[in-house]
Symmetry: C2
Subunit: 260 residues, 2 copies
Amino acid sequence: VTGAAMLTIGQLAAYVGVTVRAVRHYHQRGLLAEPARDASGYRRYGAQAVLDLIRIKTLAEAGVPLARVEELLSAPPEQFAEAIAHIDEALQEEVRELERRRQRIADLAGGERLFLPPDFVDFLDELRGAGVRPRTVQAEREGWVLLLAADPEQAHEMLREKRASLADPALQRLYRGFDEAFDWDPADPRLEELADAMVQFAAEQSLGEAELSASGGIDHPTAHGLLSAHYTEVSSPAQERLSELCAERLTRRGPPQGGH
Amino acid sequence: VTGAAMLTIGQLAAYVGVTVRAVRHYHQRGLLAEPARDASGYRRYGAQAVLDLIRIKTLAEAGVPLARVEELLSAPPEQFAEAIAHIDEALQEEVRELERRRQRIADLAGGERLFLPPDFVDFLDELRGAGVRPRTVQAEREGWVLLLAADPEQAHEMLREKRASLADPALQRLYRGFDEAFDWDPADPRLEELADAMVQFAAEQSLGEAELSASGGIDHPTAHGLLSAHYTEVSSPAQERLSELCAERLTRRGPPQGGH
DNA sequence: TTGCTCCTCACGTCACGTGAGGTGGC
DNA sequence: TTGCTCCTCACGTCACGTGAGGTGGC
């Protein structure tokens, strides 16, 4: 209670580790009692203010809104303890959320800057390993990102199927063919051969038009449309022509047989 | 590029997992390109918008300010990767900080609602074990909180010394005496005996007045003043009187001898 | 006397949230 | 026709940050 024991607002703030403005803010909000003033009109604080401010700071830093801090300061010990338990749960969840975000931004940096779970990355690596060039792998990657955003579960299921199919060298050849077609002239006769091979492969696998196209087999209509639009955007004229040729053959052959 | 493939702002937002308002905000900030409008003036989005928005959302959720997100979106891959590394470090530090805060709010809930490291809690438990009542233990606890706020290192050092001294049954008796004196009359003759015992103990330990008082041996002048003020506030009239009696005896005996 | 702290308004910040008032789509 | 989404302002929110203009302490 002696003068020497009384802190100015700056000393109090430094002592506890908050800003002077924050202390004034807590006064304004009614969180911290306004102390007595000295002859100069300066606020002078005692030990209790230090203890009170530590409580406020600790709760506020834990992410508790000041309105809630105010309630808690005058809450009975039982409710206080219960609230602390909830706050701790929220902090734990926040830690888990931060770890998830770390994973996502790491994925952003890796490769083509789009996030994908490990098994999707494996599939893209396998495509690359099969001789498909980066541009086409990138188009595939973005396609999977779209699918994942639309329907994560279905995307995972489709990925499993596609990875299994890719073990077939025939599909690897088709992927390479599509990749190489990027640079061809739309009138290149090899497009006809490639279209034949693709339609035949689809028939062997009992796939319809939808399954053959880049966005094949997707239930989610929005994702289907977006995928088509995306592939149309990134395709070359020859690849566009290839899609037309496939569509022609499938139409001539009649609608898909439906068999799974 | 077909109409079916074009998302409205609500579909886009739901697809990626942000609010409609957030998307509009990103347009306003220039982070996300304004798409073409349909006949009704509605924004219509394609696949690229989905990919762009995912990037923005991922960075923003990682705590990157939108101004920085804007820079990063057009940064070369090298700088982008470097920035990602920094962002990840920040996220890691945030996780560590959250764990520290969890510890602090847990301390808030435990016991008398003031945070203390484990060894301080042990000391208070020892006091309690020596027969000191909760009110006095609470005063001690708050004293240590003040010391920790002022000078954590010195507080730890002083704690080690005090814990060692407390092994002496004589000091335990003095603590109990101080505790019991709370309820006495300021004129109670036992106060004289207690003061004698305290001064004698101090002499045996070669302690001066400062060391004998509640805030003994503190280099930090602010902490010293605050501690004195705090103990004065929580002391009873009899305990106040006890302090006076000790001070008298020490003055009569002359200033402290200085011996460590 | 200089530099630092204190005082009280009061507007600024950041990333949106939230109506206000109106129109188009199914 | 009803309910839902879309549109554009434009003010509100949260916890302070940041001057603006002035005075006291060392």
